[in-house]
Every structure is written in structure tokens, then in C-alpha cells.
Amino acid sequence: MIINTILISISILTTGAIILVEDWRYRLSLVVLIELIGFILIIQIWPIALASVKLISGWMGIALLATTFIYSSPRNESLSPVSSRIFRLMLITFGWVLVLVSAERFNEWLPISYTNLFIGLVFFISGMIYLALRMNSIDTVLGLLIFFEGFDVIYSSLEGSALITGIFGIIIIFICLTGSYLEGGFTFGGTE
């Protein structure tokens, strides 16, 4: 019970922080933390080998993005005005409230652990809000990672297939690869 409360609290704080922070290093670190929270939740249901696949693929993808950031030297993002931060905080708070009021109802549809459902929904909504707030390629990829982590936490509790785990791992790495490609991290031949 205490662990569940701690996990829920950390997931709320992490998603709040990722919406607010400007430095890409912090954002990547927070996505790493989100992947770790997902792993801790999934390991309670699944064998460690399968759960590890998700964690490793997620971290590999983030490492790939970090490498792209280092070599492509992203623009230094200037600090956004306070009003913008307040707006973003209010938006994510709205997301949390939405999850809080709807989680029990969702639990009637999806017969899984309440903690998994709550945290899954928090990530899911946060991913969507993140995608709505940031427009560039890498941030789109980070948003998708958060979004998919939320879905993964929920779906893993419903379906324990090794094939889905494998394909999901491939998807996560491919998404990061795409983000890296779009940011100029690597090229795939030229066009004329």
C-alpha cells in the first residue's frame, strides 16, 4: 500500500516536472524515470525477463536520443515566461484531476490493479498533453514514449504476450530512431 502510494506520488511529480522543465537533459532523465516506474509496475505481474525487455528497449531509445542531442547540438531553449509555466502546470493538474475522477470508472471496464491503471492513465494523459505543448521532433518522440509507457502499463496487466512485448520494444526503439533521423542524427541516403 505504501509502495503504491509512493509510486503514484512519484509518477505525478515526474509528469509534472517533465511538462515544466526546459533543459533537454532533465527531460530525458525524467523519461528514464518514467520507464523505470513502468518497469517496477510491470515486474509485479510479469516475469523479470519480459519486463526487462521493456525497460532496456526504452532506455536504449533514450540513449539514442541523447546521442542525437549531443551531436546535433540543439538550440538552447530560452526560459519560457512564468505565465506559460503556470498554464502548463494548470493543464497537467487538470490531467491529474481527470485521471483521479475517472480511474475508478475505468477500473470497471479494465479489471486490473488500481495502481497500475492510475499510473498508466497519468502517463497516458501526460503524454498527450506533452505532445500538445511541444512541437519539435525530439519532443514529439518523448511525448510518444510517455504516452506508450502509460498504455504499456495498462495493457501489460491485461495481456501477457511475449510477442507483443517484443514488438512493443521494437516500436519504442524505432520511434526513437525516427526522432533521431528527423533531427539529423543520421541520414538515409540523399534525394535528388
Binding site: 471496464w109 497516458f124 498527450m128 505532445l131 512541437m135 521532433s137 514529439t140 511525448g143 510518444l144 504516452f147 506508450f148 498504455f151 495493457y155 491485461l158 495481456e159 511475449a162 510477442l163 507483443i164 517484443g166 514488438i167 512493443f168 521494437i170 516500436i171 524505432f174 520511434i175 530512431l177 525516427t178 533521423y181 528527423l182 539529423g184 541520414t187 538515409f188 541516403g189 540523399g190 534525394t191 535528388e192
Partner: protein, 467 residues
């Protein structure tokens, strides 16, 4: 040997080989053309259905390929579909060769098509959403022009398809549960809503259609149009597979009503937007939205004839937009102007290009004697019998597009001294290619039965939908 090995694994292997030989682009392209056309021909002379074998089908492939406890099933439907798709890729690659275009379609096109076919082949088919997502990611790399300032289109495409994946997977989980225990009304509504929303994201139904014109505008038409032509066709086939596979989904009346409404929304929004559009690339993308909407309208009829009409519309889509894509490539090669004014005096600058573009446009809208005419006319007839207002709305929308096309025709045949002198230079083989395209579209319009009957096999296997 299994069908999945031939039409999924083999193309993937060839695609990987092509990555390494890509430096020698011409050779790689030839290899891709040979493989694609070879796979299509192999499909014509082989079968995966040993019971209904024809004398022409001299080769036999096992339909089921097992992998990690799941199966990739190439039935007669999917074999026909693979034939269509590999022919399309083969001819698209041939056009790349003729027009000397270096593109990432070689080799990623083959990976993309193999993944799309695998998404239709996987059993249990709730896994298809994941394979669609991988295909989407590959297509982003294939299409995205990294030199382009804005990448909004591909990013939105990636995001919207990713949003659709959880919805379709969850719906699949619900529906799969329903195969074991009966599903109550509430669960059915939830599953239908999830599935519906997933397909709305995937098909680009208003208001989630913004990625379609953006992709067309921001990227080269050679890659972007291949994606925009093919992707919705696969999603439609996936939808048919879901409808055929789950008994209470197809018996739930709201499903077909929903399809009709979504189809109508696409037709109306696509035609309205196209009326105000000045950019050719965006205009084509709106016509693609209308084409997808028409397919949904046909399926929404909830009759076997509607399913056949949808697949006939696939033929019109593949053929007419193929011609349009390459016609506009030629125009773009001459001048980097994408406004509709670039069509001014097109007929006098190059009669072959002017005529092929007009015939393609008229096929899309279903003008008499064009390839689209018999199909569109049947769609209107069935819509009229089903719901008069639906038919009036669809005809009105097509009327709007017709006005756009008449405007374009005036431009094509308009004479301006300045433009007339700017002749479009085409090599002999390029001219021949354009003339062959014109002959193909005209023949398809004059003898629709011969061309359309080949497409029926792609849906004949959906026994609960077509019988």
C-alpha cells in the same frame, strides 16, 4: 514454402540487401522492380487455397506461417491483395527509374509494403495494430524530407497513428474476450467506440485529417503520394477484416451507420477544402480524402455490393493517383511552383502530360468513359436506394470537385504566349510512359469489367461480408 515467406519475409530480406547496395541506385532500383513484379507474377501463378485451384496456378504455397505462437496467414484474399500491392510498387519503382529519381522508396518501399501485408496477415489480428505502427515508422523515414523546414505533417501522422494503436489494441482485447464469453451491450458499445476512434485517427477523418495535406505539402510528391495513396487502402482492408472476423460487430447496426457518417464527413470536408485550395499538392491530398470517404460510404452500405464497390474504388484510387503523382512530378521538375497556375497551358506545353493529368482527374470524380465512372455510378445508385439524403450529399460533394476540375481544365487548355513557349522537355521513354498511362486509364474506362474483376479476389474471402 509458405505464402508469408514469399510475400512478407522475402521482400524484407531483399529490402535489407538493397540497403547495402543503395550506393548503386540504378542496380538497387532494378532489383526492387524485378522483385516486386516477380512477387506479383508469382502471386498470379500460385495459390494458397488448394481446394479452389485454377489451371493457371501451377505453384502451391502453404497459407500459414507460425512464429512465436502466432501465425501469418496468407489466404486467397491477401494473396490477391499482395499481387495488387507489389504490382503497384513495381510500377512506382519503374517510374522512379524512368524519370531518374533518387528516392528512399528504394529500399524502404519494399519494407513498408511487406509490413503492411504482414499487418493484414497476422493472426490473432488484434496484433495488426502493432505492425501498422512499425510500418508507419518506416514510412516516416521513407517520406520525411529532412531538408524541409517544417516536419509538422510527418510528426502529426506519427502521433495520430500512435494514438490509434492503443485504441485498436484495447478494442481487439475486448472483442477477443467476446469470442470466449458473450459480450453485453455496454461492452459492445465500448469496444465499438474504441475501434471507431482508432480508425478515425488512422483514416484521417475530420478533424484528424490535417496530417494528410501537410504531408503532401511538406514532402516530395514521389514519396508522400505513395504513402497517402496506399496507407488508407490498408486501413480499409483492416477494417473489413475486423468486420468479417467479429460477428456481433458486423451485426451491430450503429457500426455501418457510423461508417456512412464518417465517409460522408470525409467526402464533404475533402471536396469543400479542395474547392478553396490553390496548391496542387494539397488539392491532390484532399481528393485522396474524398476517395477514402467514398470507400467508407460504400462499406457503410452494409451490403455485399458495397464491399465490392469499395475494392473497385481501390483500383480507381491506385490507377488515377498514380498517374496524377507522376504527372505532377514532371510539372514540378520543370518549375518549382505548386500553385494551380502551374497547369496553365499545360496541354500546349506537353499534350501527353496535359491529357494524362486531366484523364486522371476525371477518373477520380467519375466522369463518363473514365475508369471511375462505372464505380461511382454504382456507388450513387446504391446510396440512393439506401438513403436519399446521403446520396444527395455525396453527389453534391462530387459536383463541387467537378467544378474544381473544370476550372483546372480551363487552365490546362488556356493559351498564354509566355507559357506556351515554355515547352516541357520529355525524353522518348518518358513520353512513351505518359502515353501508356493514358491508354491504360482510357482502356480501364472503356472495359471496366476486365480490370475491376481482378480486384474482386481481394475481398472474396470475407465470406460473412460478401455472401
Amino acid at each position: 514454402m509458405t505464402g508469408a515467406f514469399v510475400w512478407i519475409i522475402l521482400p524484407l530480406v531483399v529490402s535489407i540487401i538493397l540497403i547495402f547496395t543503395r550506393r548503386y541506385f540504378q542496380i538497387s532500383n532494378w532489383l526492387q522492380i524485378a522483385t516486386s513484379l516477380g512477387l506479383a507474377l508469382l502471386g498470379m501463378f500460385s495459390t494458397t487455397d488448394l481446394v479452389n485451384k485454377t489451371p493457371l496456378q501451377v505453384l502451391e504455397f502453404a497459407p500459414v506461417f507460425n512464429i512465436l505462437g502466432r501465425s501469418l496467414v496468407i489466404d486467397s484474399n491477401l494473396r490477391s491483395f499482395a499481387i495488387i500491392f507489389y504490382f503497384f510498387l513495381g510500377f512506382w519503382s519503374l517510374a522512379l527509374l524512368i524519370f531518374k529519381v533518387r528516392s528512399r522508396i528504394v529500399p524502404l518501399g519494399m519494407t513498408f509494403f511487406a509490413l503492411l501485408i504482414s499487418s493484414l496477415a497476422v493472426e490473432p489480428f488484434l496484433y495488426s495494430a502493432l505492425l501498422v505502427e512499425i510500418a508507419v515508422i518506416v514510412s516516416v523515414i521513407m517520406v520525411a524530407d529532412t531538408s524541409s523546414e517544417s516536419k509538422k505533417g510527418v510528426l502529426r501522422y506519427l502521433v495520430f497513428f500512435s494514438f490509434g494503436v492503443p485504441l485498436v489494441l484495447l478494442a481487439g482485447w475486448y472483442l477477443a474476450g467476446g469470442e470466449i464469453t458473450p459480450v453485453n451491450e455496454g461492452q459492445l458499445i465500448q469496444a465499438t467506440l474504441l475501434l471507431g476512434l482508432g480508425f478515425v485517427f488512422w483514416l484521417g477523418v475530420f478533424p484528424f485529417q490535417s496530417w494528410i495535406p501537410l504531408i503532401a505539402e511538406e514532402n516530395r510528391p514521389v514519396e508522400s503520394l505513395l504513402l497517402l495513396i496506399v496507407m488508407p487502402v490498408v486501413i480499409i482492408m483492416l477494417l473489413l477484416k475486423y468486420l468479417n472476423g467479429f460477428v456481433w460487430l458486423r451485426e451491430y447496426q450503429s457500426v455501418f451507420q457510423g461508417l456512412r457518417i464518417f465517409g460522408l464527413i470525409m467526402v464533404i470536408t475533402g471536396s469543400t477544402w479542395s474547392f478553396f485550395e490553390k496548391n496542387i499538392k494539397r488539392l491532390i491530398s484532399y481528393l485522396l480524402i474524398v476517395s477514402t470517404g467514398m470507400m467508407l460510404l460504400s462499406i457503410g452500405l452494409g451490403q455485399p455490393s458495397g464491399i465490392y464497390l469499395a475494392v473497385y474504388l481501390v483500383f480507381v484510387r491506385l490507377s488515377a493517383f498514380f498517374v496524377l503523382a507522376w504527372t505532377f512530378f514532371i510539372i514540378q521538375r520543370e518549375e518549382a511552383d505548386f500553385s494551380i497556375n502551374s497547369l496553365k497551358a499545360l496541354f500546349f506545353r506537353s499534350p501527353a502530360v496535359g491529357i494524362s493529368s486531366l484523364i486522371a482527374f476525371f477518373s477520380i470524380v467519375g466522369m463518363p468513359l473514365s475508369a471511375g465512372f462505372p464505380v461511382m455510378q454504382s456507388v450513387y445508385a446504391y446510396l440512393s436506394a439506401s438513403d436519399r439524403w446521403l446520396n444527395i450529399s455525396a453527389v453534391f460533394s462530387t459536383g463541387i470537385i467537378s467544378i474544381v476540375l473544370i476550372r483546372l481544365s480551363f487552365l490546362v487548355f488556356s493559351q498564354t504566349h509566355e507559357k506556351n513557349s515554355q515547352r516541357i522537355s520529355l525524353t522518348t521513354i518518358e513520353k512513351l510512359f505518359c502515353i501508356l498511362l493514358i491508354i491504360f486509364l482510357v482502356t480501364a474506362g472503356l472495359f471496366p469489367g476486365t480490370t475491376l474483376s481482378g480486384f474482386e479476389d481481394a475481398v472474396n474471402g470475407f465470406e460473412f461480408l460478401v455472401k
